[in-house]
Amino acid sequence: MDERLRSEDETIRLLRESAAAIAPRGGPLSRIRALRFTLPGFSREVWQEIAGLGWLGLRLSEAEGGAGLGMEACCALAEELGQGLVPEPLIPALISLPFLPPALRAQAVAGEIIVLPAWQEEPGALGPPRPITHFERGVLSGQKRFVPMAAGADYFLVAAAEGLALVPKDAEGVSLVTAMTQDGGHLGTLSFEDAPAEPVSAEPLSAGPLSAGPVLAAFAAALDEAALATAAYLLGLADRAFLLTLDYLRTREQFGRKIGTFQALQHRAADLKLALELTRASLWQAARRYDDPATPPGERQRLVSQAKARASRTALEVTAAAIQLHGGIAYTDEYDAGLFLRKAMVITPQFGSADWHARRFAELSPPDEDL
């Protein structure tokens, strides 16, 4: 990753360094283990630290009380969190912030409350464009699914067919059912039965596709940003699973030799490295061009889809290969390799599966390949 760092600016370098407070490079994963299979599965104290480090305001403008940083910075941070398997739901929380009323936003940026978006109804899709959850006459009805770490939220920002609405977790008519995930976290299913909620902006929210109107267009862009940050998180976790594997190949002996001398394992490792480097190139190309104001929105989406499709596949490929290259030891829960595989299984489909993004990439690409 050193080559990459060289060309990053000072802000990003400092941001990466600051991440060590929560997720030191190659640091112990005991905190992560201890939080597995608990509810809410992450730590409010760490959330306060995250707030203290200013990460929640990363993407907000300075007028909104934020740092006004771009997706390059956001992805650098997400990559650091990924290598540390950090379970705190920073990526989804960042989606909500721009849409909150100022007072609530200030609380959220300070880490006092957690607002998570509830936007998804179908598995694997970064949509749907027309939710079947409704927000009419001030009340929400319907269901939202796959809300990561939902049990830790105080409010939900709900994407309804009529627009965005804000609802406290403990509001009347709101019920939350959680299902544990392989990484020890959970996904929430939120059901709304005439739950009273607040519209999130003064803009009239007309029924229609999610991307119609400036607020909803901004929300769609926020989802894309979350997809890109998720790709960075996946790169971080895959990179570390690979480093763990390389260490093992360099030290483990079998048949009187370091197993890293076996050519079949060397070639497998070379292929994984190639997958990681393709992912890295794809991700930073997307992040840089996303931050370039001259990049048209369709091109941003295409680049995000390209990077997310790649990162999702690489993360599963690398973490599964890490198990194989380790042999038996990686099949024990007490060895760390499994933590990376299980996290990849859960994060990989989030904010659009590889398939979904591949399809969107094709739709947004010019019809013919340039010769």
């Binding site: 038996g328 024990t332 299980r342």
Partner: protein
């Protein structure tokens, strides 16, 4: 050894039945006797969970299909044993703690003393002795030549010190058969002997290991100056390695059985139905490719089973079956994860339906290319022993 039964068989001799008739006998027996709540268990069962089935089989005289009838076994031919196992698998019968049956019995019958046979075999049949296997060690995963556990003779005892790993269900066993080094000066596979060790011996400590399925199927076993009498050594001293190799029976073919892949493919179809993908052209294409792979695997498996039935020994080709079946199983579960999206990350089956558990099956499919010799080692074997490539 005379043919007069030492332990009278409880079951009739099924060898004269024709294959289909025998298959029917097995099916009926399972349908009538198998505890329904134990069908298709998601994990390897502990002794406490499956002993009722062990006792049913013991009572029926079916617990040791391969043992000779005069030692209380069914005395089945390999062909009939294959049918028995196929039907048990198809029915979803749980795998029992069968190391006593599959490994210790044949070991003692072939290499043991008459006294050892008379003492141990009835206790295996009755379920009084439950055995675990001490082959693997932390630094000798696929490389048994690197075995470090040592047995030193002190007067009338062998004193064993070392560490074993990947010992299946050691926490449930009261006996362990293990390999230990008895001649440190000998090279590689030489100088290793075979011992029978009570798990209650002072100096033995068992530590269960939770695996990626979050199940404590495996254990580490620590042996610190464990003393066993001289007659707990089996066969000749320093011949343990050759005995262990000779015990690798025709059961190895089941590592290449199509069952896991077939099961996964049926679940893939169920998942696609659940997700509304069954008519998607891309799904159909992938599904067809998997079916072709499975159909050809079945054809190749059938070739090897037919050879076994004709009394041929299994060669190194069996590694091909293992490689193909394990990787097909893994490719299917990886594709399940791909289409399942968020469902693939769930810890429990979708909607509580055990047939819809892509994440669980994906995890279960990971070690099949590791256990029984990694697929890398299987490919080495194919290259050297089947293709005769230089070493």
């Amino acid at each position: 050894m005379s043919d007069a039964p030492v332990i009278p068989p409880r079951a009739p001799d099924y060898n004269p039945l024709d294959d289909e008739a025998f298959r029917e006998v097995v099916r009926e027996f399972l349908a009538e006797n198998y505890p329904p709540h134990l069908r298709f268990p998601p994990h390897r069962l502990h002794w406490a969970e499956c002993k009722e089935w062990y006792f049913i089989l013991a009572e029926k005289g079916w617990i040791a299909p391969g043992w000779p009838r005069q030692w209380g076994g069914m005395g089945l031919s390999p062909a009939k044993q294959i049918i028995l196992i196929e039907e048990f698998e198809r029915f979803g019968a749980a795998r029992l703690p069968d190391h006593g049956i599959v490994m210790v019995g044949p070991l003692l019958l072939r290499y043991g003393t008459d006294a050892q046979r008379r003492f141990f075999l009835p206790r295996i049949l009755s379920g009084e002795h439950i055995w675990c296997q001490g082959y693997s060690e932390p630094n000798a995963g696929s490389d048994l030549a690197a075995l470090r556990t040592e047995a030193v003779r002190e007067g009338e005892a062998w004193v064993i010190t070392g560490q074993k790993i990947w010992t299946t269900l050691a926490q449930d066993a009261n006996w362990m058969f293990l390999l230990a080094r008895t001649d440190k000066t000998a090279k590689k596979q030489e100088g290793i002997s075979f011992f029978l060790v009570p798990m209650t011996s002072p100096g033995i400590r068992v530590r269960p290991i939770v695996n990626l399925e979050l199940h404590d199927e495996f254990c580490e076993v620590f042996l610190d100056q464990v003393r066993v009498p001289l007659d707990h050594l089996v066969g000749e001293i320093n011949q343990g390695w050759s005995m262990a190799k000779a015990l690798l029976g025709f059961e190895r073919i089941f590592l290449g059985s199509p069952r896991q892949a077939a099961n996964a493919l049926a679940r893939l179809k169920a998942l696609a139905d659940h997700l509304g993908l069954a008519d998607d052209p891309h799904f159909q294409r992938r599904y067809t490719e998997f079916r072709l792979d499975l159909a050809d695997h079945r054809a190749l498996y059938a070739v090897h089973v037919a050879r076994l039935r004709e009394g041929e020994a299994l060669g190194a080709e069996v590694s091909m079956l293992k490689v193909h079946q394990s990787e097909l199983f893994q490719r299917i579960t990886a594709y399940m994860l791909e289409i399942a999206a968020e469902y693939g990350g769930l810890l429990e089956p979708i909607g509580g339906n055990r047939a819809l558990h892509p994440g669980g099956l994906f995890i279960q499919s990971r070690p099949v290319s590791i256990y029984g010799g990694t697929n890398e080692i299987q490919r080495n074997i194919i290259a050297k022993n089947v293709l005769d490539l230089p070493g």
